[in-house]
Each structure stands twice: as C-alpha cells, then as structure tokens.
Amino acid sequence: MKPLKLLISGPVGAGKTTFIQSLSEIPVVETDELASENIGKTYTTVAMDFGMLELDGIRIQLWGTPGQNRYKFMWDILAEGALGLILLVSGEQPQDFIVARSMLEYITSQHPIPYLLGVTRQDQPDVWTPEDVADFFGLPPEHVIGINATRATSSIQTLIALLEQIQNQKWRGIP
C-alpha cells in the first residue's frame, strides 16, 4: 500500500516540529535555520520537517510545512490525496490566528481534505481555549482540539481525533 500523507502546518512557534517528533518512529528530518528576525526562538523550520509512523503495516508520512503564504505551492502538492491536515496554532499567540485561519480556509476550500485544528500550549495559564478558538475560526467544536505538549499522549490523541473525523464517529472499540 502507498504511504499515506499527513500534513501538519501552522504559524511559526505553533509546535509543528515538536508534534512530529512525538509521533515519528524515525529521527525527524528537520530543516532548521537561525531565525533572521525576532520570532521568540533561535531556530525555526524554513522548509519542512519530515517524520514517519507505521500503523498496521501502513506507513504514514508526517509532513510539517510552514504557515507562510509563500509556501502555498507546497500545501497544494502535499494536500493532494492526503489522509488529513492538522493545523496547529498556539493558544498564546492570538496575533497568528488570522494568518492561520486564512491558511486553513485556503487548503480546505481547494482540497477535499479532512482537517483538525490543534490549539497548543493548553498547559499555560493565559491561553485561548479550544472552544474560543473554534468560535473565532468559525469551526464546529469537533474540528478543534486542545493540545498540551507536556503530555506524552497529546499528539496521538490529536491523531485519534482526526481519524474519528474521517471515520465520522467516535471510536467504539474493536467489534
């Protein structure tokens, strides 16, 4: 079976690299460079991150792409036939919401791709809740999930939520 593609995107500092690292079973291929401007961290992903996960013999490629508009061509290539899109946005950075919303709307209006919005930094005290972010993005609550990177299971729970979206129902266990 051909490997599946899972697209993970979002603005700078949303936690894409951490998310992929926590799911990937191979060392993540990173393209980090020194940030050329003050973005709150020294290194940032300039092109993409790549990781891999295998479930029941099916390989899932994890593609992390930057959220800037100049990478639109990459979103189109990666979204084509992808398993889904997980867009990450930091609940501590409301200044990124409009850019992130635009990105989500661009991809989901061009491609029939299942999607989930992950609101990271939920362990922080001053943070937007997933419900409030869903309201801002105009999304049904089931399309938005809170992510706490300090919990080891946060990424897999996000993947489960996306798969449940595709399956169109909550996981009820093995029949």
């Binding site: 599946l4 479930l55 029941d56 099916i58 899932i60 508009n69 639109k72 398993l83 409009i98 635009s102 709307e105 661009y106 989901t108 209006s109 061009q110 491609h111 029939p112 791709i113 299942p114 999607y115 105009g138 897999i156 993947l159 489960i160 798969l163 449940e164 595709i166 399956q167 169109n168 996981w171 266990g173 093995i174």
Partner: protein, 214 residues
C-alpha cells in the same frame, strides 16, 4: 481655456469639487488596469463612467474611482458640453457623496488590508438577504449568483471586471456581516466509494492505535 493635468499633481478628490459647477466630460488617460475612461458630469452629479464606449455598472464605477484615488497615475482633460443625454444606465451619483464615500472606503480598505482573505479561498453565501448599505448592496447584487455556487475573490474579480483587491475587501465585509462563509470541500462531497474507503482506512488505523495502547 481647458482644465487639464495629472492625478500626481492634482488628485481626484481635489479636482472633483472644481468640476462640481460644470457640465462636461472628463477624459482620463493612462490609468492602471483601465487605460482610458470618460466621466460624464452634470453640475455636481456623476452621470456615468464609460470604458471602451460602454457604461460601467455601479460596482465597476466605484472600483475605478477607488483606483483613481489610490494611484497617482493618469492624466485628465475636461471638455465642457452643453447637451447631456440621459440614459437608463446612468449612475446619477452626487459628487459630494462620491467624495465622502471614497474617503470612507479607502480608509476602511487600508485599515483592513492585513486581514483581507486570500484571493484563492472559495466563499459561499449563507443567506440571500442583501446588505442594506452601498457600496456593499451593489456588490452583492452583482455577485450573489456566483456566491450561491461558491467562488474565490480571484475568479469573481474576473467575472465582475474589477480589481481583485476590491473583491477581497467586499468579501471581508460580507464575512463580517455573516453573509458568506468559506467552503469546506470535504463537507460538499457526497458518499462515494473513495469516502467509504477512507472511513474503513481510518477505522483500521484507529484499531491499530488502540491495539498498540492496550
């Protein structure tokens, strides 16, 4: 004696008031996007704008005026006329209102610039109740048939023959008013063998995850 010059040295908002007491045709040349235009004025009323000898509709005319205010390209010459022949397609805009409306729209557009939706995002109308105020009302009338089906600002600009940034601005306003929403392509897909296959695949992956966890 003629009234002539360029918008670089005599911008449109400064020019229009002195033409308010006159009747004639303002010939405008070298405009970006449009090239040559004619604006028919009759003592304080903008009767019509013509491009390639065709009268422009309200949305197109407003877009042209905004372009003329925003850019300092283009030159003009005013030719007085004595006979003005009304037409059913005339705009009949008060010059005073045009000036105020342009100033408001340019300010709003500048303020919203960073938040305008990407021109490729496809939007769809949520309800067909028209907005009550101009210029949104005219834009809505011209675009509702396309918005019912779903269309991007890029494609709508081609249909309406106005610059893309104007359509982005109007879509931004319509969205704030709750008239339009982005299309989610996945939600428009009917049940199909591909969709069923995706659902089965998701079930298989979930089974693998939960099998691994226990």
């Amino acid at each position: 004696m003629s009234i002539f010059g360029s918008f670089k040295t005599l911008p449109l908002p400064d020019l229009l008031p002195i033409l308010g007491r006159r009747t004639g045709v303002l010939e405008i040349e070298d405009l970006p996007h449009y090239g040559r235009l004619h604006m028919v004025l009759e003592r304080g009323i903008v009767r019509r704008l013509e491009h390639n000898s065709l009268s422009m509709d309200r949305v197109q005319a407003r877009a042209v005026l905004i372009e003329m205010v925003n850019n300092d390209h283009g030159s003009f010459r005013f030719n007085p006329i004595t006979d003005y022949v009304p037409s059913s397609q005339d705009l009949n805009w008060s010059m005073e209102k045009v000036l105020l409306g342009l100033a408001t729209q340019v300010d709003e557009h500048t303020h919203a610039q960073a938040n305008l939706p990407d021109p490729d995002i496809v939007f769809q109308s949520l309800n067909l109740e028209p907005p009550t105020e101009e210029p949104l009302w005219s834009f809505w009338q011209g675009s509702k048939q396309f918005l019912q089906q779903g269309i991007s600002a890029k494609k709508l600009a081609l249909q309406l023959k106005i610059p893309e940034s104007h359509v982005q601005f109007f879509m931004y306003k319509l969205r704030l008013l709750g008239r339009i929403t982005p299309v989610r392509m996945i939600a428009t897909q009917a049940v199909s063998p591909v969709k069923t296959e995706q659902q089965n695949l998701a079930s298989r992956l979930l089974k693998a995850i939960f099998g691994r966890k226990t």
